[in-house]
C-alpha cells in the first residue's frame, strides 16, 4: 500500500500586507510531525499574523499553506479540523463552566463520545481539581490549561500555540512546558515565544522571524553550530536587532 506522505505544515510564500506595511513578507517553511517548532521574533515581527493566517482567522494577501495536505484557502474547514489552536492571551468564554466550555468546543468539531473525551482531556492537562468551576474564577495558569484542553480535544495532528506561557509564574511555566513537550511527542507543534530559555527547554527546530521575513530556519543544535556565539540570546540579538 502506497501511503502519501504529507508535511504536517507546509507554507509557501505566505504574505500579509496592510497598506504598505508588510506584516508577513513571503515566508515559506515546513514543520514535521513529532517535533516542536519554536517561532521566535521580536514583538511585531509577524509571528501572530502568520499563525492567524494558518488557522484561518486572517486572509493571506498572497501565497498559501497546507495543513496535513489540506489547503487553508480551498478547503478551509477541513484544514481547521487538523489544527488545535490557542490564540494569544487565551481568549475563553469566561461565563461558562470548564466542562460546559469543553463540551461546546467538542461539539463544534462534532466529536462523538464527548463526555468521556472531556474527562480525558481534563485529566491530561491537570484540570481535575478545578473542573467544576466557572472559567472566570480560574487563575491564569488554569485558564491556560483550559486553553490547551480546548486545543487538543479533537486530537489534532497540528498544534499551534501563540505565546502559551506568557504571564505564568515559574511553577506554572514548568508545568505547561512539560505538558507541551508531552503533547509534542506525536503531534506537530508550533509555538511562538520570545523567551529563549523556553526555546532551549522544549523546541527541536527554530524559525526566527524579523520584520515579516525569516532570518533563520534550523534545528536547535544546528543554529548554535552555525553561529559561533554561545547563547541563543546572542544569536537572536544578532539576527533581529
Amino acid at each position: 500500500m502506497v501511503k502519501k506522505f504529507y508535511m504536517s505544515i507546509s507554507v509557501r510564500n505566505l504574505s500579509k500586507h496592510y497598506d504598505k506595511q508588510r506584516a508577513v513578507d513571503s515566508i515559506s517553511f515546513e514543520a514535521k510531525p513529532g517535533r516542536i517548532l519554536g517561532f521566535l521574533g521580536p514583538n511585531g515581527a509577524g509571528k501572530s499574523t502568520t499563525m492567524r493566517m494558518l488557522t484561518g482567522y486572517l486572509e493571506p494577501t498572497s501565497g498559501d499553506a497546507e495543513i496535513s495536505g489540506k489547503n487553508i484557502l480551498t478547503s478551509a474547514i477541513e484544514a481547521k479540523k487538523q489544527i488545535g489552536y490557542l490564540p494569544e492571551n487565551t481568549p475563553l468564554y469566561t461565563e461558562m463552566y470548564v466542562k460546559e466550555f469543553l463540551r461546546f468546543i467538542g461539539q463544534t468539531y462534532q466529536l462523538k463520545n464527548l463526555p468521556a473525551r472531556v474527562d480525558e482531556v481534563i485529566k491530561m492537562v491537570g484540570l481535575t481539581p478545578e473542573q467544576h468551576k466557572k472559567i472566570g474564577m480560574l487563575s491564569k495558569g488554569y485558564r491556560q490549561r483550559v486553553g490547551l484542553a480546548q486545543a487538543i480535544i479533537h486530537n489534532p495532528a497540528v498544534l499551534i500555540l501563540d505565546e502559551p506561557t506568557s504571564g505564568l509564574d515559574p511553577n506554572q511555566l514548568v508545568d505547561i512546558r512539560a505538558l507541551i513537550k508531552e503533547l509534542g511527542k506525536n503531534k506537530t507543534v508550533v509555538i511562538s515565544t520570545h523567551i529563549m530559555q523556553e526555546v532551549e527547554a522544549i523546541c527541536d527546530d527554530i524559525i526566527i522571524i524579523n520584520k515579516g521575513r525569516i532570518v533563520a530556519n534550523d534545528t536547535l543544535t544546528g543554529i548554535k553550530q552555525n553561529h559561533s556565539q554561545h547563547s541563543l540570546e546572542e544569536i537572536f540579538r544578532a539576527l533581529t536587532a
Binding site: T55, G56, E78, Y85, P91, Y93, F104, T108
Partner: protein, 240 residues
C-alpha cells in the same frame, strides 16, 4: 451550528440579559397599555389592541438592539471571536446561530403579551368581542418586524468592538428602516414616487400584515430584508 446556537441562547439565559430586557419590555408595554392615560385602553374606551401593536415597534427599536449589541461586538473585544472562527464552522453558521438565538429571545419577550389579548377580549362588550384575525396578523407582523430588527442589530454588532456603539447604530438603523422611508417619501410630490419609496420601509409592510391580511409580498419583503442584513454581516465579519 446547533452548538453555537445553544451556547448563545444559554449565555442570554444565564447572564440576566434575557430577564432584564424582557422584564423591562413587559413592564413598559404593560404601563403603556393599562396605565399611562395617553395610551391606556381603559381611557380609550374601546377594548382593542390596536394601540399596543402600534407602540411595540417603538419599544423594539430599543429592546432589540439591547439584545443583539453584544453578539459580535463582545466576542471581538474579548478575542473569543478568534477562537470561534478557527473552529471548523462556517461564517454563515456562526451568523445564523447568533441571529436565531436573538430571534428566539424576541419571541420569548412577545409570548407573555398574549395575556393582554386575553384580558382585552374579556373586557369587550359582549365578552370576546375582539378581532382575532387582526390580532393574529399583528403578532405575525411583530414577529417579522422583530426578526428584521434583529438582523439590523446583528449587523450593527459586527461593525464594532464597542457594544454601546453597536446599540446606537442598531437603534438608529431600526428607526430609519421603520419610519425613515415614510418620511422621505413625503418630500416628493409625485404620487408614484411616494408610494415606491414608502413601500421600501418596514412600516408599510407591518401595517399591511397587521390588518390581518397575510400577503406573500410582505412576507418576501421581511425575509429578504433580514437576509440582506445578514449578508452585510457576512461581508463585515469576513476574513480580514
Amino acid at each position: 451550528m446547533y452548538a453555537v446556537f445553544k451556547r448563545e441562547l444559554l449565555s442570554f439565559l444565564s447572564s440576566m440579559v434575557a430577564y432584564i430586557t424582557i422584564g423591562i419590555f413587559l413592564a413598559v408595554s404593560g404601563l403603556l397599555l393599562w396605565f399611562f392615560p395617553d395610551t391606556s385602553v381603559l381611557d380609550y374606551g374601546y377594548a382593542d389592541l390596536g394601540g399596543f401593536f402600534s407602540l411595540v415597534p417603538y419599544l423594539f427599536m430599543f429592546l432589540i438592539p439591547a439584545i443583539t449589541m453584544r453578539s459580535f461586538a463582545e466576542e471581538q473585544k474579548e478575542g473569543t471571536y478568534e477562537l470561534l472562527v478557527t473552529k471548523p464552522i462556517s461564517q454563515w453558521q456562526i451568523i445564523w446561530a447568533k441571529y436565531l438565538a436573538c430571534v428566539i429571545l424576541v419571541l420569548l419577550a412577545l409570548i407573555p403579551t398574549l395575556i393582554y389579548y386575553y384580558s382585552i377580549s374579556k373586557l369587550g362588550l359582549p365578552e370576546g368581542n375582539i378581532d382575532s384575525g387582526s390580532v393574529i396578523g399583528s403578532y405575525i407582523g411583530l414577529f417579522l418586524l422583530g426578526s428584521a430588527f434583529t438582523a439590523i442589530g446583528i449587523f450593527a454588532s459586527s461593525l464594532t468592538k464597542n457594544q454601546i456603539i453597536a446599540f446606537a447604530i442598531a437603534a438608529a438603523l431600526c428607526a430609519f428602516a421603520f419610519l425613515g422611508f415614510d418620511y422621505t417619501s413625503e418630500i416628493f410630490s409625485m404620487q408614484s414616487f411616494e408610494t415606491t419609496i414608502s413601500s421600501l420601509g418596514i412600516n408599510q409592510h407591518y401595517q399591511s400584515i397587521s390588518r390581518g391580511v397575510l400577503d406573500t409580498r410582505d412576507l418576501i419583503y421581511f425575509i429578504s430584508f433580514s437576509v440582506l442584513f445578514l449578508l452585510f454581516t457576512k461581508l463585515a465579519t469576513g476574513r480580514k
